[in-house]
């Protein structure tokens, strides 16, 4: 699956569209490269010349602050020229328009498109129709995938928890509509976590979710029991409209992550959230700002992970490869499996 589209003939990553189909080795390579980029953000001059002369277009058909900003910072730290385009994604926007937009920008010799779109499969469609030298990074397509978010979550988990094989992980919230959840599930399964649970009311669980290799739970008591990692998802406040939940109040009572519910998890459990958070809806402020929260580090790591993905995808030439290694060697590399929480 995806083998043809995401990889070139030699098996190198060409586009990043979804985590599904990436090997464990590829994911680890991205995480290791990201480790080497962490230091860049800590230097006084936060720039390396890896993508000098390359043009990156952030093409966002959906509103985003943090993803777009971190992609922009990541590209700038790699010395690329970055253009941000927010295209209103009205429901009437047609496929032709989307392809025409891409073709026009392509004619301006763009090297990399970072694309966010409201429709599942949009990044795949674009990747199928761009010339071979143009690269695509999916920054979120509909409910399908948000691979860099999934990767930065893996980076964060590895830093705090180390070996994936020993971990029990729970993903909590609106699994049905979440591209983040799907990317997290593929990443965690590929990295071989000991146990992966999803927790939500039945109205927010996809019918065939267990086919993805997860255990589905409809009670927080079952879902959080003894887990090492709790990954919260954002709940759209409008979910009452589709009769998915009765009220914010009832959702918070049943599925909101409070200190009491977090106490069901392992003592040293960490809490992740892709942001933006709805405090008092899916997560209690006491947890969000509490000692087990790694929500802000996620954002910081997001830059390094996005730099790593861009570098690996764009690093097609041997020269660039050298530069990647140079940056890695020059960096103050933190130990591979991360610093444990105190």
């Amino acid at each position: 699956m995806n083998q043809g589209l995401q990889f070139d003939d030699t098996g190198r990553l060409r586009h990043l569209l979804t985590i599904e189909g990436l090997s464990r080795q590829t994911i680890l390579e991205i995480l290791d490269t990201a480790e080497s980029f962490i230091s860049v953000g800590q230097r006084e001059i936060k720039k390396i010349p890896l993508l000098r002369g390359k043009t990156v277009v952030n093409l966002f058909f959906e509103f985003s602050t943090r993803t777009r900003t971190t992609f922009e910072i990541a590209a700038k730290r790699l010395s690329a020229d970055v253009i941000n385009l927010s295209v209103g994604s009205s429901s009437t926007a047609k496929g032709e328009t989307l392809l025409d937009t891409i073709r026009n920008l392509e004619a301006m010799h763009t090297d990399l498109f970072v694309v966010r779109h409201g429709e599942s499969g949009a990044a795949h469609m674009i990747a199928r129709h761009v010339p071979p030298h143009v690269r695509i990074i999916n920054a979120g397509d509909g409910r399908h995938a948000h691979p860099t978010q999934g990767l930065l979550d893996m980076f964060t988990i590895r830093r705090y928890k180390g070996d994936f094989g020993k971990l029990k992980v729970a993903i909590v919230g609106d699994i049905l509509h979440s591209r983040v959840a799907r990317s997290q599930i593929h990443a965690l399964k590929t990295l071989g976590v000991a146990e992966l649970r999803v927790v939500a009311p039945k109205t927010l669980l996809p019918t065939a979710v267990e086919k993805l290799g997860v255990i589905s739970c409809t009670r927080m008591e079952d879902g959080l029991d003894g887990v090492d990692v709790v990954m919260m998802l954002r709940l759209q406040r409008e979910r009452m409209q589709g009769a998915h939940i009765p009220s914010e109040h009832e959702y918070f009572n049943l599925f909101g992550l409070t200190p009491a519910k977090l106490a069901l998890a392992a003592k040293e459990a960490i809490v992740l959230h892709p942001g933006p958070m709805n405090r008092g809806l899916e997560i209690d402020s006491a947890v969000a700002d509490g000692p087990q929260s790694v929500i802000l580090p996620q954002v910081t790591y997001g830059i390094a992970v996005r730099m790593a993905v861009m570098a690996l995808i764009m690093g097609g030439t041997p020269g660039n490869r050298e530069e990647t290694r140079g940056a890695a060697a020059g960096g103050v590399r933190t130990s591979g499996t991360g610093r444990k929480r105190k």
Binding site: G95, E119, M125, D141, T207
Partner: protein, 428 residues
């Protein structure tokens, strides 16, 4: 032009004929002899059909020709050529053209346009409600007079159950057949794939099986109440087929069809957002495909149709949910049905029956068989010929088929309409 079709294996399921028999056709295009010529018959022409199958021209219960209104996708002219190249001599058109077929003038216009080309016969299905809005009944008697062979709201659901009841009652009054696309619009909820494994993985909004079964259950309850003769179009789930079988067993006057692609593809063929597999109703799971196959082999489903929906290329060049549903399917109807014979699900005669006299009976049109006196609408195919479906082979204007590159067994070599040769491969 009197004609003898010589040396072929004649399969005419309606008349239980299967054997090496010559077929004699008179100057007016009627069958006048099967196996032996009538006395004094002299054929002016001979068509040699050694090693070929001679069967009635195929009857397709659902094909959109895109005219009028969507001529940038296809036209009657382009699609009747595709039909005869596929051995199809009779086509039914749903009324969801622009404008809708809800007036006698529209129904007549369509037929007369088709007549100009003298290729396949076109039978319109009339709108069940005006403009397919599900509110006011269409003039069914006038449409019936104008040649409509059935009435349907096509893919626009009649959500108001009272209107549906009245429509069925009124159709019963006039002894008309109603064609139903059973689908609960609320449960469909804008979905574009089966609510199952693939939809879950790709994050595409799903259409649950219950959208179909709830629709079938509602319609069956109204059919039982009104006694209306009804035909379920394009069943996609095993459960719906079981419900129709139970209704038939109870004696309700219901029939059903499914499409050739639902008998071969599943949701898994969507792979990585292959928009060519975007169809409505959606491709469902393995279990459903097996259920549909069982229903065609036990007779619950009486017809295989193409559900032909040609598109311009741009219609499929979009993110999956935004791409337009439908397959250009005329030219794979026979090959996909013959594949069911290769796979030992059906005998050759059974497959031909599902494509000829059985669908003809559903629309009440005197075609689909080759008994004495029948109109000589004939399909002749070479059952052994192997060929690969490529874009340049397609006659239809629509090239939107997920079967491109597939190799098939069995190729149409001649098509006759009213005794006249309208297609020949290779061209003479």
């Amino acid at each position: 032009m009197s004609l003898v079709i010589q040396g072929g294996r004649l399969i005419d399921p309606a008349n239980r004929v299967d054997g090496k028999k010559d077929l004699y056709i008179d100057d007016n295009g009627f069958v006048v002899g099967v196996g032996k010529p009538p006395t004094g018959f002299k054929a002016r022409n001979t068509l040699l059909a050694q090693d070929k199958i001679v069967c009635p021209g195929l009857v397709d219960l659902r094909a959109r020709l895109r005219e009028p209104g969507l001529e940038y996708k296809a036209t009657i002219e382009s699609e009747v050529h595709a039909a005869v190249a596929a051995g199809i001599t009779t086509l039914c058109c749903p009324p969801d053209t622009l404008p809708v077929i809800d007036t006698p003038a529209m129904a007549q216009m369509l037929q007369s346009r088709a007549w100009r080309f003298g290729l396949a016969f076109i039978h319109p299905l009339g709108a069940l409600t005006q403009r397919l809005e599900g509110k006011l009944l269409a003039d069914m008697e006038a449409l019936d007079e104008a040649g409509c062979v059935g009435f349907t709201n096509a893919l626009s659901p009649v959500t108001d159950t009272l209107v549906m009841r009245r429509a069925l009652e009124y159709a019963t009054t006039l002894d008309l057949t109603v064609f139903l696309h059973a689908e609960d619009p609320w449960l469909r909820n804008g979905g574009c794939v089966h609510e199952g494994e693939v939809g879950t993985r790709l994050g595409l909004p799903g259409i649950p099986e219950a959208a179909e079964t709830v629709g079938v259950a509602r319609d069956l309850a109204l059919i039982e109440q009104t006694g209306c003769r009804a035909h379920f179009c394009g069943l996609s789930s095993a459960r719906a087929a079981t419900m129709v079988a139970a209704a038939q067993k109870k004696g309700l006057p219901v029939s059903a069809d499914t499409t050739a692609h639902h008998l071969h593809l599943t949701e898994h063929d969507i792979g990585d957002f292959n928009t060519l597999c975007h169809v409505r109703p959606p491709l469902r799971g393995q279990h459903d495909r097996e259920g549909l196959r069982k229903a065609i082999s036990n007779g619950t489903i009486a017809a295989i149709c193409s559900d032909h929906q040609p598109h311009e290329p741009d219609a499929k060049l979009a993110p999956f949910a935004r791409s337009e549903p439908g397959i250009s399917a005329l030219e794979t109807l026979l090959p996909l049905s013959l594949k069911l014979v290769d796979e030992k699900l059906l005998t050759l005669a059974e497959a031909i029956a599902l494509l000829t006299h059985k669908p003809a009976e559903i629309i009440g049109v005197e075609t689909g068989h080759l008994g004495l006196g029948a109109t000589a609408d004939i399909c002749i195919f070479d059952p052994e010929a192997r060929w690969t479906l490529t874009e340049d082979r397609l006659v239809s204007r629509g090239h939107n088929t997920p079967f491109l590159g597939q190799t098939f067994h069995g190729r149409v070599t001649h098509t006759l309409v009213g005794g006249k040769l309208v297609y020949e491969f290779p061209p003479a």
